[in-house]
């Protein structure tokens, strides 16, 4: 009986709204262009630089995106304080990534505030997403 209920509860978990990482990139690029008409498109090199940059804020002076997400976005990471494993960020290694715009927005908001003490700009998000898409 208990097992049946557990199965039912699992089945009730909401299915993620599927979308493509390329759509998310296009959205962020469009936003960046609205803010800066001279924006020449997302740069994976700038995205990589953000990924490896050390932070300044609450996550600690040494903490950057890479400290929780591992030195390579194709690898699994680990939350520095709680020890919880984090699945890879690159869609090539984890097809669930960058598929849900609301999910991506939520984590950019939180993690950029923690690491940079401010929200990331549309350009930074476009760069970061392109860097993740190209990590194969």
């Amino acid at each position: 009986m208990r097992r049946v209920l557990a199965v039912l509860l699992c089945a009730a978990a909401p299915a993620a709204l599927a979308g493509a990482p390329a759509d998310l990139l296009r959205d962020y690029e469009a936003q960046a262009r609205r803010g800066d008409p001279g924006f020449a498109g997302a740069s994976p090199a700038r995205g990589a630089e953000l990924y490896r940059r050390s932070g300044i804020a609450s996550a600690g002076p040494e903490a950057g995106c890479a400290s929780c997400h591992s030195p390579d976005p194709r690898w699994p990471g680990r939350h520095g304080r709680t020890g919880k494993p984090i699945a890879p960020l690159a869609p090539a290694a984890n097809p669930e990534r960058l598929a849900d715009p609301a999910q991506a927005e939520k984590w950019f908001r939180r993690n950029c505030r923690d690491v940079l003490a401010r929200e990331c700009t549309a350009q930074e998000k476009a760069d970061f997403v392109r860097f993740l898409i190209e990590a194969k």
Binding site: L9, A13, P14, S58, T82, G83, K106, R109
Partner: protein, 185 residues
Amino acid sequence: MSFRRFAPVAVLVLTVTATGVLLASGPEDPERRGVAPRTVNPTWRTECGACHVAYPPALLPARSWEKLMSGLADHFGEDASLDAATAREIAAYLVRESGDRGAGRAGRKAARAVAPGETPLRITGTRWFRHEHDEIAPGVWRRAAIGSAANCGACHEGAAEGDFSERRVAVPREDRTAAHAAGSQ
């Protein structure tokens, strides 16, 4: 009265009795479920299980969850903010399953150990937690594979599913990296 007319009544009586027996031993049995919640809200499980295991709601009183949920933008030094509708849904769930509202015996014990004037935000800071873990030496919490007392899953294999039973506890041994890190400090 013939048996034919009586049979449906007998079947009904039997069904009702059988259902009653099944329900009595089902998942609602509060004394057997330990600290696991009666129901699992999938939004809570996903959102509050992203950075750490989704901690059992039974281990804090309702007022603690209300306070914690009203300060998610600065959550133990991290930004765990949610949109208002999601936060409301999760807060209602946590209160419903909290130690002083929804819990079984194990959770009620945890909630009773909190003094009426206190509103702790950490399970690991409560008297109940220290008591349940008094066999663990202070240095053990700092082992590399554990890192923090809040990393329940390091020792409780079933933590992610809310199973904290004694059968599924294994404290990780000191490893070489941890010994090395301790030596170099």
